[in-house]
Symmetry: C2
C-alpha cells in the first residue's frame, strides 16, 4: 500500500523540488493541477490531459455534490472510475464555491445551509458532510472545510472568519477517514494579516495535516499583496509537508509563488482561457480571435509540442474561433494546459539545477515583451 507522503528532493533558495505520493500515483512538484470542475477537464479527453504531463487534477465538491451527486459517484466506483482519470485527484471542500455560487446561503457554526443554483434543492454543507463527500468521490487529497475570507476584510473580520475555519479544520480532521495513500490538507486563512496567518498556521500544525494550503489569496488583492502574504506565510508551514496555493494563477503568479516555497497550484485560467480564444505563450497571451491572425500560417507557439501548435496554423485556430467550432476550445485548452505543464517542468528542472532565479528572470522578461509579433 502506498503511504501518502511528501519527499523534498532539492531546494534552490526558498523554491522546492519534491514529490507527493498518493494512492493513485505520484505528483512531481512544483505541480500545476488542471481543474476538472464537474468531473471533466472541460473540452479535454482525460488521456489528453495526462499527455501534457499533468499528474493530478482537481474536482469540485460543490458541483459534484449537486450533480451527479456524491453518493451516485461513490456507487459508480468513485470519481477516478467515473471520469476515467487514472492519476491523483484533489477535491476542494466546497467552502469556497458554496459562498460564490449557491442561493439563499445561511452560515452558522454548524456549516452552510444553501439551495442549489441548478435546481433549488436544499443542502447543508458541514465539515463532516464535506469529508463524507470527498470520501465518496475517492479524492486522493481531501481539503478541510473552511470559509474563504473575502478581500478586503478588516482585521476583525479576517480573525473571526479564520477562527471559524480553524474550528472547522479540527472537525474536518476528526471526520476524515484515514486510508493509506490518502491525505488531508488544512487551509491557512487570515487574509493579508501576518499575525492572523501565523495564528492560523500554528492552529493547523497543532491539529496536524498531510499538507497545508494557503487560502484566501487570488481574491482581488493583487500580485504584490499576494507575494507579500506568501513571504511571511510560506515559512510558517512545515518544511516536510507539501504546500498548496489555492486558485493561483497566471504563470507569473505561479513562478513568484514557487520562488517563495509553494509546491502545488490549481487555476481555471488555462482551461477557461482556452474557451475564450486566449492562448498562453512565452511572450504573453495571444487573442486568437483577433483578425490579424487570419492569414498567419505560423503555429501559435513554435516551441510547443501540443497538437494545436504541432499541426495547425494561427489562421486555422482563428477560423475555428470565429466559426464557433468546438475544436477551437479543444485545441486551445490542450495548448494552454500543455503550456502550464511545460512551465512547471521548466521550474522543476531549474530548481534541480540550482538556477530557478535565472529561469524566473528569463521567463518574466520574455513575458513582458507582450503579445507575439504580428506578421
Amino acid at each position: 500500500m502506498t503511504q501518502f507522503g511528501f519527499e523534498l528532493l532539492a531546494t534552490d533558495g526558498a523554491a522546492r523540488l519534491g514529490r507527493v505520493d498518493t494512492a493513485h500515483g505520484p505528483m512531481d512538484t512544483p505541480a500545476f493541477m488542471p481543474v476538472g470542475t464537474a468531473g471533466t477537464v472541460k473540452a479535454m479527453m482525460p488521456e489528453s490531459v495526462a499527455a501534457t504531463g499533468a499528474q493530478t487534477i482537481l474536482g469540485n465538491t460543490y458541483h459534484l455534490m449537486l450533480r451527479p451527486g456524491a453518493e451516485r459517484v461513490g456507487q459508480l466506483g468513485g470519481l477516478h472510475e467515473f471520469m476515467q482519470w487514472k492519476g491523483p485527484i484533489l477535491t476542494d471542500s466546497g467552502g469556497f464555491q458554496v459562498m460564490s455560487l449557491a442561493k439563499l446561503r445561511k452560515m452558522t457554526e454548524e456549516g452552510v445551509a444553501f439551495q442549489s443554483h441548478i435546481d433549488g434543492s436544499k443542502h447543508l454543507l458541514t465539515p463532516e458532510r464535506s469529508m463524507r463527500i470527498q470520501h465518496l468521490l475517492d479524492a486522493d487529497i481531501t481539503m478541510a472545510f473552511d470559509e474563504c475570507t473575502p478581500f478586503p476584510a478588516t482585521p476583525e473580520q479576517a480573525a473571526q472568519s479564520m477562527h471559524l475555519s480553524m474550528r472547522w479544520a479540527k472537525r474536518s480532521k476528526e471526520a476524515f477517514v484515514s486510508r493509506p495513500g490518502y491525505g488531508l490538507f488544512g487551509i491557512v486563512q487570515g487574509g493579508i494579516y501576518h499575525d492572523l496567518r501565523a495564528e492560523s498556521a500554528c492552529a493547523l500544525r497543532d491539529i496536524g495535516f498531510d499538507g497545508y494550503a494557503i487560502g484566501g489569496l487570488a481574491v482581488g488583492e493583487g500580485q504584490d499583496l499576494m507575494f507579500q502574504t506568501l513571504d511571511f506565510t510560506a515559512p510558517m508551514l512545515p518544511a516536510e509537508r507539501p504546500r498548496y496555493l489555492m486558485g493561483v494563477g497566471k504563470p507569473s503568479d505561479i513562478i513568484g509563488a514557487v520562488l517563495r516555497g509553494v509546491d502545488m497550484f490549481d487555476c481555471v485560467m488555462p482551461t477557461r482561457s482556452g474557451r475564450t480564444a486566449q492562448g498562453f505563450t512565452r511572450r504573453g497571451t495571444v487573442n486568437l480571435r483577433n483578425a490579424r491572425h487570419q492569414d498567419d500560417a505560423r503555429p501559435l507557439d513554435a516551441d510547443c509540442a501540443c497538437p494545436a501548435c504541432r499541426q495547425y496554423s494561427r489562421a486555422y485556430l482563428h477560423h475555428l474561433i470565429r466559426s464557433e467550432e468546438i475544436l477551437g476550445p479543444m485545441l486551445l485548452t490542450w495548448h494552454n494546459i500543455q503550456f502550464y505543464q511545460d512551465v512547471m517542468k521548466g521550474l522543476r528542472g531549474a530548481i534541480a539545477a540550482g538556477r530557478v532565479h535565472d529561469f524566473a528572470d528569463d521567463f518574466l522578461a520574455t513575458q513582458a515583451q507582450g503579445d507575439i509579433e504580428p506578421i
Copy 2:
C-alpha cells in the same frame, strides 16, 4: 501520380464492393463520409475521425467560401493542410446550401447571387465559380454545380430545375481543371419522376463524369419514395463509376441504398446527433439525456470500440450532457461516427461474402427492437 478511378471488386445482387482512388488515398466503398462543414468535423480531432475508419470527409463550399474564404484556404495550402485531414476530401458545389442558408437569393441562368448569412456580404455563385472554389480548396472530389430540386415539385417544376442543372453540369465540366487523382462528379436530378431521372442520367453520361451523384433525395419524400426513386435511378448510372447518394442518411436509409447499388454517402446525422445527446446503437438510437441512464454503469454499446463505449458508463455520458460539458458532444460524436463506420465495414464484409441481404435483414430486425433496455 495516382489516377482518379473506381474499381468494382465484387457485387452481391445490386450491392457493390469497390474502391475509389484519389490523390489523397483510397476510399473503400460502400463508404460513409463524415461531414466537416466549416473545415472541421464538429467536436472531433481529425486523427480521431481517421481512427474510426473514415477515409473521406466532406467540406462545404458555401460555408468555406464565406469563412474563411476559398482564396485564403488556397493561400494556406488547401483544405487538407488547413484542417490537417490527410485523406480524400469531397466538397459539395454550394448549390444546396446557398438555397437553404443565404439571404436575398436571386437565381438566374448565370448562377445564384446572394448575401452571406454571416455578414451580409454579396456573392455570386456560378458553375465556374464553384469549380474555382473547389479547386482552391483542393477537393479530391469536386461536385458539379446544380440546383437541388425541392420536394414536392410538379413534373414541370422538376423538369425545369433539372434542365438548368444539366446546363450547369456542362459548364461545370468545361470549367473543371483536370488533375491526376482529382475527379468531378455529376448530379442526377429529376425529383421522383422516372423519365426525368432517365433524361438527367443520359445528359450527364453524355457530358462524362468521374462519378455520378443522386441529388434531390432525403428532402422530405420519405424512405419509401426514396427507395423507389433509387430503384429506377441507380441502374441508369454507369456501372464502372462510383455512385453517391447525397445527404443520406439514417443507417436503414444507407443499407437500403447499398442494396440498390449506391457506393457513397454523407450526412450530418451522426455528428449532429452527437451534439444533441443521441447515440446510435444496433438496437436503435438512445437519448442519453434521459434520466433513466443516471445510475447505469454499463457502456452505451458494449460491442463498440470507441472511447465513449470502451471507457465510460452511460451514467457518465448522461452527466456530461446534463452538465452541458463539451466532452459530451466530443464522446457521442466519436461514438456515432464509429457506429456509422462499423456499419459500412459490416456492409463491405457482407458484400464480399455474398450475404449482404442477410446482413441487412439482421441489422434492420435488431434496429426495430427499439431503444436499448432500461436497467
